[in-house]
């Protein structure tokens, strides 16, 4: 018990200090404002002939989080690349190493602030918005809502994990941020190329490849099979596998980052 208390305080110290650094006034307020504005401005209940309420729930959640998830990615990119990257570049992280804590706890405190807090704000606003806009859709199709969020957040966390690895490798804030932006657009371009291949060949595999890192595509095919990937319409269970696979990939990426940070990182 005493040992836990002894370790808990330095952990909270680092967490509090990182929080203060990541969310300086008025950064947090500005991002929250953008989250809220984006959530309500871009929401759509666009319906087409014969669309089921489940598809409407999916469309609504996708439109609701479209812009805010972009803001969420910017925020975690800033926190990881600029926050952690600058700590590594300027050597501030050495101060944290002097605390009676293992390196993995230091990285956990950093990631809690950089990703988990940003995610909590994002989800807090999104869930409140869903209940404010369409409580009946949410209560009736909670499975669809949760799966849509998981699929989209999985991809964002994958980007965050790749950026974290890059940041640890290059140890420079600005450079890591540039890498992050390039990564975001590069994946977008690759996505586009594979989609064109799927369209031209009528084959499902290019879309299936993207769906491994971005399961939101599998979910989109499940609800609205676009004909881009031939007749590939994954079942709900298949989509669950894609989402599970994406999260497993994210877990592996973060584990590699932890191992690198704990054993290989030299300053």
């Amino acid at each position: 018990m005493e040992k836990t208390e002894h370790k808990g305080k330095p952990f909270l110290e680092i967490f509090a200090s990182t929080l203060q650094e990541d969310y300086r006034f008025p950064i947090l307020e500005l991002f929250t404002f953008l989250y809220t504005l984006g959530t309500f401005i871009f929401v759509s209940f666009q319906t087409y002939g014969g669309v089921t309420n489940e598809q409407v729930a999916y469309t609504m959640v996708t439109s609701l989080m479209g812009f805010p998830i972009f803001i969420f990615i910017i925020l975690i990119f800033k926190n990881i690349a600029y926050g952690l990257g600058n700590d590594l570049e300027k050597g501030t992280i050495q101060t944290f190493f002097s605390y009676p804590l293992k390196r993995r706890s230091i990285l956990t405190a950093k990631l809690l602030s950089a990703i988990v807090v940003a995610l909590l704000i994002f989800l807090g606003i999104q869930i409140s918005a869903l209940y404010l806009l369409a409580p009946d859709i949410i209560s009736n199709y909670i499975g669809t809502v949760l799966l849509t969020y998981s699929a989209n957040i999985g991809y964002s966390l994958f980007l965050a994990a790749v950026l974290l690895l890059m940041t640890l490798k290059v140890k420079r804030g600005g450079l890591a941020l540039v890498f992050g932006i390039i990564l975001y657009f590069a994946i977008g371009v690759v996505n586009g190329i594979l989609t064109v291949i799927a369209f031209v060949t009528g084959s499902a595999w290019p879309i299936q490849i993207i769906a491994v890192i971005n399961p939101a595509l599998a979910l989109q095919q499940h609800y609205f099979s676009t004909g881009l990937a031939g007749s590939w319409t994954p079942s709900f269970n298949e989509v669950l596998w894609y989402v599970g696979g994406a999260f497993a990939l994210v877990a592996v990426m973060f584990s590699i980052s932890y191992v690198y940070f704990c054993r290989r990182l030299s300053l």
Binding site: A16, Y23, F25, P26, L28, E29, L30, T32, F33, T36, L37, F40, I41, V43, S44, F45, T47, N53, V56, I121, I125, L132, L133, A134, P135, D136, I137, N140
Partner: protein, 199 residues
């Protein structure tokens, strides 16, 4: 400045920024699409449909303005004209189709279709109401005369296209902003005092 003051203060400022965003959204005006007014007469114990069915959702509501000479009951039913009229046609007893538009048949229809009424209101004179659903639903307007006198009425339907339900937004902003102000006040005061001391 204690960490609790900072934490509570920042929660307050976050609530204020959420409230301000909601306030801004609530100021975006709704776009209205008004259909031409329609007038009719309803015999006692008869009902009538308002014409086409509409597809409503939380961003697309309906506003109805009615002026009636006597008491009239208005229903907003989650169905469409063809479904209801087919049901009435198939369920009119012994092919007596003169009874098809009797309020007793409407009651029988409602008895067979639970939870189908989205909105119900008894009106007399000039009344205006608005309905914005919380999910996607079909809607058809039904006027029923349960009284003993013939009723003359005139109705005008407008579709309201909103970015978000502005009343809810405004109400939430009105709650969230003052809470945010109260929570952040001690932090702002400490912040200001610290600045003054530094000077």
């Amino acid at each position: 400045m204690s960490r609790w003051t900072v934490l509570v203060g920042r929660i307050g400022t976050v609530l204020m920024s959420v409230g301000l965003a909601l306030l801004l959204i609530s100021l975006i005006p709704a776009r209205e699409q008004t259909y031409s007014a329609y007038g009719s007469t309803l015999q006692p114990s008869r009902f009538f449909f308002s014409g086409p069915s509409f597809m409503l959702n939380p961003q697309r509501g309906i506003r109805v303005a009615v002026n009636s000479s006597d008491e009239l009951t208005i229903y907003l039913v989650q169905s469409n004209y063809s479904y209801i009229s087919n049901w009435l046609y198939n369920n009119t007893p012994a092919g007596d189709y003169s009874r098809m538009w009797k309020t007793s048949m409407l009651e029988a229809f409602f008895g067979n279709h639970s939870d189908i009424i989205s909105y119900l209101r008894n009106i007399t004179g000039e009344v205006e109401f608005e309905y914005i659903p919380t999910m996607v639903e079909q809607a058809v307007l039904v006027f029923a005369n349960y009284g003993n006198a013939t009723v003359t009425y005139r109705s005008q339907i407008s579709m309201i296209n909103l970015v978000a339900p502005s009343r809810k937004m405004l109400m939430t902003a009105e709650i969230v902003i003052p809470i945010g102000l109260v929570l952040s006040a001690p932090w702002f005061i400490s912040f200001w005092k610290e600045k003054q001391e530094k000077r």
